[in-house]
Subunit: 308 residues, 2 copies
Amino acid sequence: MKSRSGKNPATTLADLGEDRFVADLTRGFAAGADVLVGAGDDCAVIGRPRDRRWQLLKTDAVVEGVHFVPEEDPRRVGWKALCRAISDIAAMGGVPAHALVTLAAAETTAFARVKALYAGLRQAARKYGVALVGGETSRSPGPLFLSIALTGWVERRHCVLRSGGRPGDSLYVTGRLGGALAGKHLDFRPRLEEARWLVSHFTVRAMMDLSDGLAADLPRLAAASRCGYSMDDNRLPVTPGCLPTQAMSDGEDYELLFAVAPRFCAALEAAWKRRFPRLLLTRIGALKHRSKAGNRNASRGYDHFAQR
Amino acid sequence: MKSRSGKNPATTLADLGEDRFVADLTRGFAAGADVLVGAGDDCAVIGRPRDRRWQLLKTDAVVEGVHFVPEEDPRRVGWKALCRAISDIAAMGGVPAHALVTLAAAETTAFARVKALYAGLRQAARKYGVALVGGETSRSPGPLFLSIALTGWVERRHCVLRSGGRPGDSLYVTGRLGGALAGKHLDFRPRLEEARWLVSHFTVRAMMDLSDGLAADLPRLAAASRCGYSMDDNRLPVTPGCLPTQAMSDGEDYELLFAVAPRFCAALEAAWKRRFPRLLLTRIGALKHRSKAGNRNASRGYDHFAQR
């Protein structure tokens, strides 16, 4: 894709790719006096710099035929829709609070299906302490569309952005990556408890949740932190039965990717094992100074992974 | 539609109708300690009873083929999408603050079209003091879908619900009704300034914005206030060139419908004329005690208008 966006009227969204097109659309979004972080991180952050607590805002949608197949158990679809947004609040170190649900569905949709979808939403809401405070519905001439708007909060001192990483920081991921397409993506548990524990006990410099796969998301975190990175492919925590390429690119892992200063690594790893003995924590690499030569990556298989 | 929802697995959304189906879905939505108003009003209201200010939350979506035709100027579509949500904040007596934009569009969508849509969003945001703080995008295999999540705030003493009306209160509407389908619905101005002025100078007991037409919305306001109502059809402020049935049922007027105690009517009408000389304010009827005999309505043409 060489043409500059907007120059060629025939340019489509597919030509641009999501990162380019979102960056282009949200450029110049008004940053009011109380907008601490606007578009570009997992959540927007609202508040004044010295407030003790900040508000987090997130919106996220699942679309039939894109994020789930029509035959899918609607209860799992509802669960997933809310958990995706909760995962983004977790990735800021925050706590989710209030959710609004926007549903567009064909008039011929069975009410039982929509009810089951809401049952999944309620289940996730109860589990993670979210209050469902509103529902908006619309007719849709096309696929079922479910959008979640979620608010949350985070103590100022615990708020973690994507942009706080520094060269030399160690990079960690939770859990195992890959294989979400086999079904895990509908039942995943957002790493809310883990993220809260992390930000309460350690200085986490940068964090995000892995929704598009490490191959896409790690470069985003590094770029937000104005860093390069190196990765040790041999340490990649691959889901049993999956290939490393799947672990890198399947996406929808909803695990945490985060950066901490190397001097805390030993203490973090020991404390993690005691606190979450059943959840893997893997040091997969480090942030580096940016270099024009691109990022060092142990694997030669991931050229698309180079810094763009 | 006689069957009870959920009893018959073949029941569709069209069978139930929106009010029934939203009420059914949102029943038992967790009302956390800080949820003052959940589903069922124009916005959710968040806060503690004695807070000086409360937060308002609203989500609203427009769908291609339902709320606008594919050929429509995308700038007007963006304007409309944000203004619909602003209108709901206004109807609570509040001030809009931060918006998040969720867009689902086919990969083949021209980027220029999406850009124009965002230009309309920005225009509305600038005009009404809203900060656009995030954008989420998704592929859609179907129509273009645009969902807005909007936060706002309102002073506790100025917050107006649908449910505060009392028998005897006079009912007013702003502007003229009907004819939105001819194009007005894409360029309307949410009555933000008017609503703020109203709540600052008068005790408005109940208010909502007219999105589905007076024939659908007036019974909603009356029911929320546990009242019946009477209406004087001869006073209906019909848009020139429209029929009274259009004024009642076209919808998408985005005017205010509100209730005030009769002792304030003369002062309100006089002050309104001075403050908004170019915008009509019409007393269309009154809230009544509920009676099993249904509502008195001067027009015999609106049987669907009876209390359900």
